[in-house]
Symmetry: C2
Subunit: 388 residues, 2 copies
């Protein structure tokens, strides 16, 4: 790994630079898993790197709950905030844009440009809002496949995702076994636990209980469920971090006031004001109906449901190789959940590489530049690049 | 432990029977830690067992966040729901009412009869609401001491509590070292972690964000922050249970609908409807301002703050013996937190017994009839009873 280490230190600042989102419009109706049909839709996406002549070097990035198409680079020279997976995508990075053509899209139902609850429902001329169809991970996979068709990509060198993104990557391996050579599933699970569903339910109830939600028709009533969405984000923030990570980041430090008497209304711990700030920021940048839709897709996801609840039978449909990664302190998508994936893959005879990364950042670790994580990820992707 | 096992199985149905709450009124003003004075107040309490002649067999029960004075027995022959710690208090149970006189009160600031935010503020003639003084654990200890004075109890055989109750028990050992012979601290901590504070902050924000909260003056405006309080309770429910406990209790079972299409609005997992029901029940039985006050007391609690942040210096003030208990899957008050207490006690030269109980129910375990828990608790209390 020494060579890789040097490689990363030399390229830690490397970026794909300024990127411009594109929009693909689809006029062919799509039948959704829920039984409803969408007559047309847009998908907004970004690409990084160059598609090779044989179109064999394409990597698909699937985003998680609150993600979007902007995974790497910046939107202008002045833009100080790069895409959400900039640590992993770029020249010399694990998903090396010198070798791969990377496609990252905003999923159907999203709120960053792709058709979703904030789009206009052609039947009513008003925003879809709560009437937008319920989506499942397979709907995303199908629409992603159509986008691949549009770009002439017959087979992905790799489909890659963390968390909910990892669920999509696994679903790809079952829905289109001939169109995926490698599946990279990071900090994910074959299905959520009751505890995970419960946390998502708190988030949804927080949103729905906000009077600003107006039954989901807040865009029509000119209200915003900002507090509810902020609370939902707070739940995410706490549970995606480990206890240790919060202790290191905040401890019990006060932002203001004094604990001696506990009498000052302005007393607050730093962790409180941080959460309120993050919650308030999020509510300005994310759509409440999309948040509900995405958490529902997470809850409903059950890889093996249509395979007699047998994960081995499910993965027997796949024909790609797998990389599975987990993080030691991730308590919402614990290493145990990843091991279940690995065990099913082995029983199904699929080639699989697995690593549990020691990291104290909880579920958030999959977004962070943890050296061993980047090393393992990079080593696997170099193998992918050899056989393009 | 065989004898103890037989003992419990023979007495598992034993109860203190029908109990009648009593109210003690205090006219002497009390200076609170926040610097404000309360001119008079009521404390509602229950007692179980008989006070002996020398008044040496009294045990004080300190309640946790959502607890109250009704710890054991029932309120009528028809009452099917016994007090919250009925598993541990009664004839032949760990806190054996054949041997001990047990006192359980509703803390100041509570909402079950003791003076608190729902009481009338004598200065305004309206409910205190959000103007009720901020309380700290030591305020409870001081008011509990006055109640002991009233009953002629010079020294407790034991002060006992779980969670926030355990914090009060520890504070007792420092504030009144000559008035406590044994301190039993269960599933507690010397101070909360940032993660714990963060979960409490979510609960508070859920309540405050509810328009029914009306800035805390809901009693005056005839509104109820039912949804916010329900959400707060949901956070508690999820985090006080272990992941395993939720999996066993609910799994991914559906209450209604089908996951095949994910299209039915009525689809919900059992865990969702359970949480909504519990949240809604709680909001009918608990006061929102009290919930905020109690979580603030939890967050502020820091055993060693006034002792140069040195727990050893703090416990050097104590002169009682200690029993410390923790539960293996309790992730909000983990065994690590209990071990910190034990280590400080040992360094301070205090006698301490410690057990980590294997239990898969998370923080809630302290309320449940787990055989080894009851055995250890019982064995310790028998020792307490020997030297009354």
């Amino acid at each position: 790994m020494n060579k890789a280490d040097q490689h990363f230190s030399a390229n830690s600042g490397a970026s794909v630079g300024v990127v411009v989102p594109q929009t693909a419009h689809f006029d062919e109706p799509i039948m959704l898993a829920c039984g409803r049909e969408l007559s047309n839709y847009d998908l907004v996406y970004e690409t990084y790197g160059e598609l090779n002549e044989t179109k064999s070097n394409a990597v698909l990035i699937c985003h998680a709950l609150s993600g979007n198409h902007h995974a790497a680079g910046v939107h202008s020279e002045q833009d100080s905030k790069p895409g959400w997976w900039n640590e992993c995508i770029g020249p010399g990075k694990p998903i090396d844009t010198n070798k791969f053509f990377v496609l990252s899209l905003n999923n159907l139902g999203g709120c960053h440009g792709s058709t979703g609850p904030t789009s206009i429902n052609p039947d009513t001329g008003k925003p879809w809002g709560p009437d937008f169809p319920v989506l499942r991970a397979r709907d995303w996979v199908h629409t992603q496949a159509r986008l691949a068709d549009r770009l002439g990509i017959a087979c992905w060198a790799a489909v890659v995702g963390g968390s909910l993104g990892g669920m999509q990557a696994m679903r790809w391996s079952l829905e289109y076994p001939q169109r995926v050579k490698h599946c990279v599933t990071i900090a994910s699970a074959m299905k959520l636990s009751a505890q995970n569903i419960a946390f998502n339910e708190i988030a949804r109830q927080a949103i729905i209980s906000d009077t600003g939600f107006a039954g989901g028709r807040y865009l029509e009533s000119d209200s915003v469920p900002a507090k509810g969405l902020g609370l939902a984000r707070m739940v995410g923030h706490i549970t995606y971090l480990s206890d240790d990570a919060m202790a290191r980041k905040f401890g019990r430090n006060l932002r203001s006031g004094t604990l001696e008497t506990g009498n000052d209304d302005s007393i607050e711990f730093q962790v409180e004001s941080y959460l309120r700030y993050q919650g308030s920021q999020f509510s300005e940048n994310f759509d409440a109906n999309t948040y509900i839709l995405m958490t529902r897709a997470l809850d409903y996801f059950d890889l093996a449901r249509e395979y007699n609840n047998d994960p081995v039978a499910a993965f027997s449909q796949a024909s790609c190789s797998f990389l599975v990664l987990s993080f030691s302190t991730d308590w919402r998508f614990s290493p145990q959940r990843s091991l279940e994936i690995v065990n099913a893959l082995i029983a199904a005879g699929r080639p699989v590489s697995y690593a549990e990364i020691e990291a104290n950042q909880g579920h958030d670790a999959f977004l962070l530049p943890i050296p061993r994580y980047l090393d393992v990820f990079n080593a696997y992707m170099q193998r992918v690049a050899v056989n393009l």
